[in-house]
Symmetry: D4
Subunit: 253 residues, 8 copies
């Protein structure tokens, strides 16, 4: 509901094309569909540049399907995260193009053909165990229209692995770094380049990693600047933020 | 020490302009000045796009001054954070242009005349008490060459204050949001725009805010996507990250 | 055992209707039934306005059934929370009117026909995943005699969803707001209305939500006033408190 | 900015008393005064029933004074919490009626003569050390127009002290209970009466009380229902919530 | 290895009944049996008044059986805690008298006929869910020779339940109080009597009880004195400590 | 207010020595003196065996003095903990016998001549820094009538120091062990003797001792049984509990 | 990639045996094999003295097998930790010598015949439940070429068990001590000997042991010096560190 | 009190040079001096290789002086940590050779001329603020007879600073790494060399570093093996452990 729309409605009232009641009704018109258990935010693409994403955890398969149906009816691309196979099967009944990204636990439906957005997003992991989180980021940024690449298992226990990739890191528009255990890799990467780094702590580890708290604290306390941190295991959030940053980099509005 | 430099040195060896020992020496040549208590990273501008910044907390005034002298001798701009008045007086003896930003607790010296970088950075606070952190972000992004503006005391206790600024928020390249207590403002802002939001939890609050832990957790758990979080009270980190994002947005390399 | 009752017993002694021993016995008479494993508080309706509620977690089905039998024999309404289907089947054998509220995991038996208590209680959720907690609150306030309505999935990621409901919020006697993840919704609601808000953090979320700690802290630190917080996932406590508040609002004693 | 106001503005447009631009301007008209460092929410009384309250912690005396000046110019009552003597002296220069509540660390200015609101609020403390928090609640509810009484030092180490006050507790519309250390008193009070209890954990204690965390957890986990919890030491929040509850109880709108 | 034994060995050396090497051997003689995976402390009865107790958690059934065999061969009573049915079946093969206490998850074998130790131990619970922990305490103190009674479900949500038992509480030598959720009962009990109270926090509860941390903190911060706290769910430790206290009370050595 | 007293009052009513109103008055008669800011529990000696103790932290000197005056007027012994010199000077004006225990930060007034209670209490510290806490325990148990001795700086870094004192430990009725840092001493002591051990974690230490949390956890998790734990730095609570245990040991009622 | 290698490559360039491009290529030559999901660090033996170890947790069996194949092709010894039986079966297909250490959850393949390294490593546990962690340490140090022995169940609840082993402790080059619950044993051991002690907290325990946090804090706060702590349950890390220490002790380079 | 001494005493008894009572007395002879507030462990040098070290925090200057006097009378070297200038002045009165290490807050007295122990200890810091902790380690290892060097401010924000020192790191017998903030440096160092690394988290940082918790967790979770961690800011413990390791490396016993 942008200021322009408000002005247009007011203009309609002045021209007596709309009665005040009709105008009030329009202003009241909800930019979401109410399913009882969910109010699907159908205007989010206008407002934020991408349709509402379905966070499947804590929802029944039927709820996921019903939300997906509303979103698909608006012709945007669809992304569902933290999904299981059953959710995918349900969505595939709605649209045969539904893809299942098993490692990332994501479902995507591409309805809209987008011209590739400029700028490359690089998704880096410290270890092999961090890959599912990285893939969630990768799928997210891909469905949002970006070229994304993965660079996996380059943690600091073999520091030369990441140092040798400095040029590749430097060429990306934005770098996502996923790391569990001690979580030191984002700081090392940020110190090597002049691009924004998105740090994703993962719950990989044991004992005093406390389910990802240790790498989260490491990343927040990094002495290298240029790092924004997201929630533990939040690959989606990292991919989404990377997309917003890269869109800016490519002059998109 | 970029790959191009390595290649150039190797070329020098092949052309016998450099002996292998000289080349090894050059490769060994440290891109920092060793002051005993500090190794000043004089190549950081090349590597990361901005000179090393002096984090004054835990350093003596003499140490701060000595590090500043090395940095100033490389003709870049200087930024010192978490500084006190005494540090400023010491640096002003080295360079009369040294400025003291009291609320932000920062010292800056502008040696380099930069053409303004495109894109605007907006620094938002939830309350009045968050302003010092916001000013640290503002000073940081300014010395890095950006146009920065402040938008203060628009927290969610009066939600219309921020809603009325939606257009202004939407026009920024990147928005920094500083909030203490419950820390909900960054999530509200991110849900209104399609630009990256940098969230800075502040230690403003009492009791169960635990010195900024409460807003930190709020920001990490935001259900709105597009948010990168920095450490509690880390205005500098937010300003720095915003600069990197905005530089990308303006096509800078 | 109110002061009036004490005076009446003393009066009986003076009039020699009661011997001192009988009086002592009466004073000793326990307002609870001892089942060995449980002392069912049969006077709680007199004292607190509603019979004891069965918290099923940690109790065997046989224990739940035995407690229910005692409570039902006092003709009040029965509420059992955190129940499973087996507990319901056991209670239904005692009284065919036993209802099973699956999403809320509650069992109710309405023995007493109550005239509806004035005032409406509104139960709001930030997301779909918060609904089971909301339903526990809804069932609780309903069995206590209130008109209760639900307003679901109006979290701050689409802030206009809640803003458009401001009038409806304002008409309620008391508003319960259930939210997980960042838990910012209760603060937004409280800032919009002049009614008490009961905030219920839920364990919906992952990573740094720490099983509901993040929204709990958010709600405790809310910069909007007028909020009382209950335990994580404690829909029952919210419904009960809402009832007490609404009873006051309707002049009940 | 209520729906009625919107309708009235739209009506003005239809009647051509207002041009669309004027109407847009009106809709844009900010219900707050911008002081640069603060946006004083001058419509909060309309929206929430009481003017904005000045939370002095983290503000300079000059900032407090400037905010107070704006608020006083709207003729409402003024409340400033977590204030020191200097803030009081500054506000007294604006209005000679400014009162200083030392124990509660509050400043009040009564500009508006209110008819006393019905219903009594009782503020209870477990110990002597909890009294400053209780007084903050008491001053808050008083300036909001209520009859408030204190009942101090009736903690459970001498359980008969509170039991003997059961009738007095039962007569209040709402009871605020402030307790540090183990924080068990609110649960005991809630189990005795059928009125809402607002529990305020205080930072009184040492060692494993962790600055009020122990009583906070106790209150959140209370097995007696009917309790809403506020932040540690948040007497203001308790007084404010009590006022909203008591207003409902008295039929106020 | 008491001082008397040392003196006796030394006397043997002087009288040349023992060679120095034999004496050294005796001094080296281990008061435990080494099973490779366990060193069974067979002198603990002499030292501490009760044989080593088998903590079954983390041990295989075979390990439990082998340790039990060694202990039984010393003719003391046997107690195994946190045991499952399989462990009981294995021990019953060693000694048919082995008893299985299912609720308490304990196994006992009474080999030694003890004259009952004076003094009564009372085990109190706040709720029904705390009973398994209470039973572990009860079984422990029983096998150690005490008269123990249970008093269950007298938590503070119905405060009169415990107040009516004041005399019974006062007659015990020591009172064990098990409570989860808010854990306030031990403080109330301690304030009523002049006997030591052993407080056992239990993991009964949810949300902000954090698996027993909430009642643990409550108990540690109790404003009533005379309370010693044991680990969460540590019924055994409470029963053992109660026995030591009661033994002292009965003049035992 | 024991059952016997109730019966006696009832008997008075039956014999018409008391009117019902007088009896009700008597039952209402408060066993505490209300000072406004404090309700001094003057019956605690009857109920718990020792008068109310003044916890000075958070009280003004005037409040401490007023409470002391009430307590002294009942002729019992007086103990004030966490006191400063000013409190002592104020109490000394009330009674010249007031003693100041500087290291323990305690004030005592002995009004009552007690025959020494049998049984010895031993107070042990791991280090020199733990002595102030130990002295608080020592002063407390002394004023309660016990023979108390100190055994200081016998921590496990020189394990033979405590082993050589085994006999002395074994002769005590109860042993209090104060330890900071790692807090392992109580477990070692409990494993050597058959007497109850009261463990007092102290805040001595730095870094990961977290103000006493580390020794607190150590003590709660001790694999040696027979230990009751009190709050961090709670010497008073330890001394009080030790007295209750020793009184039982000596057959006192 | 040692300095000598760099010099040799440069020498090759000078002698025109290598073109600058070839040299650059060589410098770029990665000392790891890229499997897509893993970059196997094949130079770690050169750099750190032992090949990369496979941490199996979070890896699929196929990933483990593929990494093992690369490592085995370099003829070093292989160690895989936190492995299950399926991983062992997969590796045994690659090399029949693969051994399965069930208690330690480790797989080893000895390809290299090492002369035994001097110095003995002693692995001590406080209880029986700590043995799996101890075995992980033992297997690790063994495959690294050391003589290792275990000394189990000598915790401080029977302090003489460890005291009697003082000589054996003193003869080891380095002692690893694994302890859960209170975790006091490493401090006792360190106080008895002049050798480095590696402390391993284990997750054995319940309640306030918080999955190993309690012994971790105990070990970090030990008042005996000479202790290095590793992560909870990190037997591998302890065995590895012990090997590095013992190698130094034996003069290895 | 070694086994040999026991045997010698027993031999004396057999030869009737010692009576059993004399022998018992000798066995009882305390290897410490009792000052009342402290039991100075005068045999620690025999047992652990270095005399008792005075931890000054929490001790009065008089106590420090008295302990120092006992230790100096045994002719060993003296080390006092966490000392202030006043403690130094007091010790200098006992021995003019007392040295004051201001940055390290240590006092040393060298009474014993030691031949330098072989092996070099390298003390590394990530930043300038970590130097005081590093100096405590350096002073400790020096007084224990080692050659120690410092290498400061080589944190990962300029990763080439530490990479260029790889050879120097590799030549040390053991490397101590002190780091605050994110604490990632020890992991990077351990991955570069085959020597033991001792990691010291420091309290340098702010916000989510939680006084050193963040680097502590980082170090415990390091994916590079070969690291032992000590308490936050525990430079002494690191220096002591390094000495024990280096002594082993040099074949000392």
């Amino acid at each position: 509901m942008t200021p322009k729309e408000i002005l247009r409605i007011l203009e309609g009232v002045r021209k007596q094309v709309l009665s005040p009641d009709q105008a009030a009704e329009k202003l009241r018109h909800l930019p979401h569909r109410d399913l009882g258990f969910a109010r699907v935010d159908t205007h989010r693409q206008l407002r934020c540049g991408f349709p509402e994403v379905i966070f499947c955890q804590g929802k029944t398969t039927a709820q996921i399907r019903d939300i997906a149906r509303v979103l698909l009816s608006h012709n945007g691309n669809l992304l569902a995260t933290r999904a299981d196979r059953k959710a995918w099967l349900a969505i595939r009944k709605l649209d045969r193009r539904a893809e299942w990204h098993e490692r990332a636990r994501c479902i995507t439906v591409r309805q809209e053909v987008m011209e590739p957005r400029p700028g490359e997003i690089l998704v880096v992991t410290a270890g092999t165990g961090d890959i599912p989180v990285a893939e969630e980021a990768l799928v997210t940024a891909s469905i949002m229209g970006h070229k994304v690449e993965g660079l996996y298992d380059v943690g600091i226990a073999g520091i030369h692995r990441i140092l040798r990739e400095t040029e590749r890191l430097a060429k990306a528009s934005v770098v996502i770094v996923c790391a569990g255990m001690e979580g030191a890799l984002p700081g090392v990467v940020a110190a090597l380049i002049r691009r924004p780094v998105i740090a994703v702590p993962t719950s990989i580890g044991y004992g005093a990693s406390f389910g990802g708290v240790a790498p989260l604290l490491t990343m927040l306390n990094s002495c290298a600047a240029g790092i924004g941190v997201v929630n533990i295991d939040n690959g989606f959030g990292a991919g989404y933020l990377a997309s917003l940053i890269a869109q800016g980099a490519s002059g998109a509005t």
